[in-house]
């Protein structure tokens, strides 16, 4: 059974000034699902780019053997010809084209330059069936859910007669149900002889599908764990990734909860384009001083929509309902108003909505409260640097200086910059939307510690998360949302994954 399909030997890739990969070895057997784990910045993506030809063969050292033959790829299409297909986490689909067009994009079924539409749609339908989709191939890609789009990507890979499928964090944007489908599909394809490499942060997924796990840390291979040798355990993976044991995934805290700070009543939000859809129905919730409140819900339950509509109506239309702070009704209809009333919202998508990636740390930290650093419209840049340095120390942001460009930081450090920005705006209520998304295990613990400290300082914290263990680990109270309704309010003592999931899937009419 253990026939090697891919052997990467002594891969060393150097960028000016930095060794991104150092003598990395990777052995993948035919027909297995091979997971690659490592912190952000460990070199996983670089390794996959080396393998798929994004970095041409003469720009790195080392040898790649695929099906016992040496590989010298200069472009991605070279690797695709050999049956190696990479699916990036950010999907490479064109939203206005149909499913079929997307599947055969760049690989059109054509004769003498003219597309054969009948064949295209027929073949597409066959491929869709293989990935378990029953969609009409002429449906525009934007009309299907992200989870299904991910499956279309795989169908696209299948159309290229894939032998080795590389998935880069395939479930990061998916809800649990879609993630489950995807993982089942990977196992199904394995049965058909397709070998997969999956990069993932989610250890439970790895345990579900992986036959082998290779751990990469700081550009080096740490070890390869094999299921048949009973080596794949959460503790061992975490230890390999961070280089130490994590006694606990969550910091200890003793909550000291005070009076109510924020109360939202009868909050209703309509979809910004589709006026017939109500995204949040009559939601009411509250959060108290020093309390961490969780918002649990499946994808599309309306958690982010609820938070963003409260925060300056940055989502939705026809927003109605009342917001009270310390019992007084407040106006949060614009972002500046919301900030003035001490509300902060740290987005789930920090790259697109949270940070100015081409600017340095200090300018990002000061962005939401520049007025605090300014006199009559002029910014005191020395003060700004002092403030940013203070947060760099207290939040443990790993960067050469506060003049480092945020786009160059790892996900965890970027998230710390976002949190610094909002802490500097000195809010009473912090809404943190997926604060640990795309962050490695070590940095997650740091983020949890920061959240605990914020609560201890007397802030009211609302955490939105798709990871139930995370909510159970850090919250004092959890609300569940389902299809825009608040379906449950569970004190942490009574909360289990099962009870939460029960409320999260409850239909309320």
């Amino acid at each position: 059974m253990n026939v090697p399909i891919l052997q990467m030997r002594g891969i060393t890739k150097t960028f000016p000034g930095v060794k991104a990969l150092q003598d990395v070895t990777l052995d993948v057997n035919r027909g297995e699902v091979h997971a690659i784990c490592g912190e952000n910045g460990a070199g996983k993506s670089t390794l996959m780019k080396v393998l798929s030809g994004v970095y041409p063969h003469n720009t790195f050292d080392g040898d790649i053997l695929f099906e016992n033959e040496p590989c010298d790829f200069s472009t991605i299409s070279d690797s695709e010809k050999r049956g190696i297909v990479i699916i990036h986490q950010e999907l490479a689909l064109s939203p206005y084209l149909s499913i079929a067009e997307n599947i055969f994009l760049g690989n059109e079924l054509a004769s003498r330059g003219w597309v054969d539409w009948r064949k295209t749609n027929l073949e597409a339908a066959k491929l869709l069936a293989r990935v378990g989709l029953s969609e009409n191939p002429v449906t525009p890609i934007q009309h299907i859910s992200v989870g299904k789009q991910q499956l279309v990507e795989i169908a696209k890979a299948l159309s290229k007669e894939v032998k080795l499928l590389i998935l880069d964090e395939p479930t990061a944007a998916l809800n649990d149900e879609d993630s489950g489908h995807l993982l089942d599909l990977i196992l199904h394809l394995k049965g058909q002889g397709v070998t997969s490499i999956i990069i993932s942060h989610k250890l439970n997924e790895i345990r579900k599908v992986a036959d082998a796990v290779t751990i990469i840390r700081d550009g080096r291979t740490i070890e390869t764990l094999r299921l048949d040798q009973g080596q794949i355990t959460q503790e061992r993976i975490i230890r390999g990734m961070v280089g130490r044991d994590l006694e606990s995934l969550y910091p200890d805290r003793t909550p000291s909860i005070g009076e109510e700070v924020l109360r939202i009543e009868d909050w209703t939000v309509q979809h910004p384009q589709d006026h017939s859809r109500t995204v949040v129905h009559n939601a009411s919730l509250n959060v108290r001083k020093g309390e961490v409140v969780g918002l649990a819900g499946l994808m599309g339950a309306g958690r982010t929509e609820l938070a963003m509509s409260v925060f300056g109506r940055t989502y939705g239309r026809a927003v109605s309902g009342k917001v009270f702070k310390h019992g007084q009704e407040i106006n949060t209809s614009t972002v500046p108003e919301a900030i003035r009333h001490g509300i902060a919202y740290a987005t789930e998508d920090r790259k697109h909505y949270g940070l100015n990636l081409i600017e340095d740390i200090k300018r990002n930290v000061s962005m939401a409260a520049l007025g605090k650093l300014a006199k009559r419209g002029w910014v005191d840049r020395n003060e700004e640097t002092i403030v940013a340095n203070r947060y760099r120390t207290s939040m443990n942001i790993k960067a050469p200086s506060v003049a480092a460009i945020t786009g160059k930081l790892s996900g965890g450090n970027q998230q710390k910059v976002v949190l610094s920005k909002w802490m500097f705006s000195d809010p009473d209520v912090l809404i943190l939307d997926e604060p640990t998304r795309g962050i490695d295990v070590g940095a997650k613990f740091e983020i949890y510690t920061i959240i605990a400290e914020l609560a201890a300082e007397g802030k009211a914290v609302i955490v939105i998360s798709s990871e139930l263990p995370e909510l159970l680990g850090i919250c004092d109270r959890i609300y569940t949302l389902s299809a825009g309704h608040i379906t449950g309010e569970v004190p942490i003592a009574e909360a289990t994954q099962e009870t939460l999931m029960h409320y999260m899937t409850q239909e309320k009419e």
Binding site: G17, G41, A172, V335, K351, E359, R363, A368, G377, N389
Partner: protein, 450 residues
């Protein structure tokens, strides 16, 4: 030895800023040789300043608009329109210059507000709104002028285009002393400011330029300023418009790097959504940027009209292209968020020296346009090449969400234009000297003056 290596490493990381500066020097030297020394004759240097001043004024506003991620195609037409308005006010209605100039700037502000409204509050892309504006204000220019030029203007207004500061030595000495005092004083101020800036950076443990590079750069800027001072002083002294330009460059550089407004402009261009969600009033900032652009376009129109001593139906045609080119050659990024006033000035000077040099050589506008187009293409192409070379360009980094780990982009891919510019910006007024008339400057090209 290690200092040398450090400096070299630094130079490669700042290839863009160093490159554009070197390019300007090379172009100056090239034309100095080709024109047998005419380019740097005191009279021609003075000419360069005056001929290029209105493009540089426009480039200030343009680079700000570009930093915010917009564009303004209408500035040439607005400049022409304001020229026409000033003609009507001063020549036809007999208004005094000190009423007419503020009135014209106010009209410019209203024009900017008109466009800013459509762009910021209605949400029409700036490209469309200003393309419409280009037609609208050209039309209004023709209507205002009834298709005929208005001339002549009184001397007070003409001084804005071609006047000089008074000669305090009464024209007796070799050098014009007021210019010498201004030049030496300005140089001293720049030296002082650069050293202070460096001290502050060291104090806060920010990355500093290597000492060798800092010393070379500062010394070079000082020598350059003194050389220009000498050249200007040995002709007729300091052109009034140079003072105007110097004040604008200093003020706007400070505004862009130190004021809330400037910082919000960079934030909007860098990431509009993040800026919005950080409580920045993005619409208000955009609106003000276009009002400001309108005022600067009005000023440019006044300077141009004053220089020509006539308001012409075609006045200002093509200014938008020159000022946009100046901003991009000066390192502004098409997608916004990156750029400096200082860079735009250097970009404008490169275009100006090219224009002036080629005019002296007697090249026709056919070749002039061809060469200027290629220079623009090369400058921006160099940027893109530079980004790709240093691993993972910005657009790639934006596409792949979690892939910008430090290892992947070890070398800074963006032209980190802002930090060194704080120092360079102060140098601008002095550097802002050699420049040739651009498209609109046909009738006043260097040949006629030499």
């Amino acid at each position: 030895m290690s200092a040398l290596r450090e400096s070299l490493g630094f130079l490669t990381s700042r290839l863009r800023q160093v490159g554009i500066f070197v390019a300007l020097i090379l172009i100056v030297l090239l034309f100095q040789v080709l024109t047998d020394g005419i380019l740097l004759q005191p009279q021609n240097v003075t000419n360069l300043v005056v001929q290029n001043s209105y493009i540089l004024i426009l480039a200030i506003g343009m680079v700000m608009v570009i930093i915010a991620g917009h564009i303004d195609l209408s500035v040439g037409s607005i400049a022409g329109f304001i020229g026409a308005v000033s003609g009507v006010m001063i020549v036809h209605w007999g208004w005094a210059w000190w009423i007419a100039i503020p009135a014209c700037l106010l009209v410019g502000a209203l024009v900017g507000a008109w466009q800013g409204y459509w762009i910021a509050y209605v949400g029409i892309p700036a490209f469309i709104v200003t393309l419409a504006g280009m037609l609208i204000f050209r039309g209004l220019t023709l209507i205002t002028l009834k298709n005929q030029q208005i001339t002549p203007f009184p001397d007070e207004l003409r001084a804005l285009g071609g006047g000089f500061l008074p000669d305090i030595s009464g024209g007796t000495s070799m050098l014009e002393w007021l210019t010498v005092i201004l030049g030496v004083g300005g140089t001293a101020a720049i030296l002082f400011q650069s050293i202070k800036e460096r001290r502050i950076r060291r104090k806060f443990n920010l990355e500093n330029e290597p000492m060798a590079w800092f010393a070379t750069k500062t010394a070079f800027i000082a020598v350059l300023m003194l050389a220009i001072t000498f050249l200007l002083a040995s002709y007729r002294g300091t052109p009034i418009v140079l003072i105007v330009l110097a004040v604008l460059v200093i003020a706007y550089s400070a505004l862009m790097s130190n004021s809330i407004f400037g910082r919000h402009t960079y934030a909007i261009g860098g990431n509009l959504h993040a800026a919005e969600l950080s409580g920045i009033k993005t619409k208000a900032v955009t609106f003000r940027l276009f009002v400001n652009m309108g005022v600067l376009a009005a000023l440019a129109g006044l300077v141009f009209t004053a220089r020509l001593n006539s308001a012409q139906p075609a006045g200002g045609t093509g200014f938008e292209l020159d000022s946009i080119a100046a901003a991009f050659i000066g390192g502004a990024a098409v997608q916004g968020g990156i750029g400096t006033v200082a860079g735009a000035m250097i970009g404008g000077l490169i275009m100006g020296v090219l224009n002036n040099g080629m005019s002296i050589l007697g090249l026709g506008t056919d070749y002039q346009q061809l060469i200027k187009g290629l220079v623009l293409l090369l400058a921006v192409g160099f940027d893109i090449f530079n980004k790709n070379r240093s691993g993972g360009g910005t657009t790639v980094a934006k596409r792949f969400k979690w892939k910008t780990a430090p290892s992947d982009s070890a070398e800074e891919p963006m032209p980190a234009a802002k930090t060194p510019a704080a120092v360079a910006a102060v140098a601008e007024p002095a550097v802002a000297k050699p420049a040739g008339g651009t498209v609109g400057a046909g009738p006043v090209s260097a040949v006629e003056n030499s």
